[in-house]
Symmetry: C2
Subunit: 204 residues, 2 copies
């Protein structure tokens, strides 16, 4: 997997390559990005690319891992608070805000990559299985806490709730990306919220 840099300059260069590549891929898709594009955007020469990465596939894989880490790191603070309906609302609001932001090219960075690359090798697909598992884990944990505290009915299946929530996020982002409007994302999350509210224990 290429050379891991030992100096500060090396690390900076490798980061710059990864960031530029991730940005280009996010905007134009994996297939449309050439090594020349990455070089230009990162301001490096061909030799650097092959110094830090084995080949194009290795670079793409590295971008996938970096993207997953970035997205999950951004989600983490809010995900740890999803142990109440209010916390879930804050999380959903952040997702909508994020999906609506700036140029609103939108879509989920992980979801987009996943549907472009999951038809690839099994190793790449596994990376996405892991990514979504890591994403869903704190949600399941939060719902379980809600169940233990009696906030959630004891008979509901929390993994089922988590699954439908993740699907609503991914589907909502995909359709919002195509239509270039956040409405469908909001509606999808509204549906997930309704399902979650349904699972709340009736007030005593």
């Amino acid at each position: 997997m290429g050379h891991t840099p030992t100096t500060a300059r090396g690390r900076a260069t490798r980061e710059r390559i990864l960031d530029s590549a991730a940005d280009l891929i996010q905007r134009h898709g994996v297939a449309a990005v050439t090594l020349d594009d990455v070089e230009r955007a990162a301001g490096v020469g061909r030799s650097q690319l092959y110094h830090y990465f084995d080949d194009r596939d290795d670079l793409i894989r590295s971008v996938v891992h970096a993207t997953v880490d970035t997205v999950l790191a951004a989600q983490e603070p809010l995900l740890l608070e999803v142990d109440s309906l209010a916390g879930i609302d804050r999380w959903f609001d952040a997702i909508v805000a994020n999906g609506t932001r700036q140029d609103a090219v939108g879509g989920c960075a992980i979801g987009s990559l996943a549907s472009q690359l999951s038809g690839q090798d099994d190793l790449t697909r596994q990376a996405f299985v892991d990514a979504f598992a890591r994403w869903e884990a704190p949600l399941i944990a939060g719902l379980r806490r809600m169940q233990e505290s009696g906030e959630l009915r004891p008979d509901v299946d929390v993994t089922e709730l988590a699954d439908l929530t993740m699907a609503a996020i991914q589907g909502g982002l995909l359709l919002a990306q195509i239509r270039r409007t956040p409405d469908q994302l909001r509606h999808a999350l509204g549906g997930a919220r309704a399902a979650l509210k349904d699972a709340l224990a009736p007030l005593p």
Copy 2:
């Protein structure tokens, strides 16, 4: 957009090219499919490709249109019956069955293409906007009939219900494709069903 065939043989050849290309693209992704691959799979020569299609992009666009038509045609009979909860259940069951079938590579043919190509030109993106609109229209119409007959509460927004249902389908199929298990699709559709059930008018 290439020559439209006038003879039966010509139509058959064009169809064969389109079918083979659609199949290859479905399995390996747009970027991974070369014209040589299509030729081999369809058993035609290079000249045929360029006889019926202007260039590779034209072929891809044609595959998109053909895929959309195929998927929507398959959905149509069930979609016309979604004016009752039982009809919706039949539709959902068919989607799960279809997503579980055969090699279960899964994913939505339209959704996959959309996320691969929506970053392309605006014209291609528009094709997917239209496709999803065509898909959603009979669902909205069915829900509206349910509302008019009093089966659905009058205050609910049927487009909102339709939107979240479409998102559940797309998200569920995407995640099911990655995990190679239909569970998440079932859960996602279960969530949509709960939202729909919530909108039913209380029994008199």
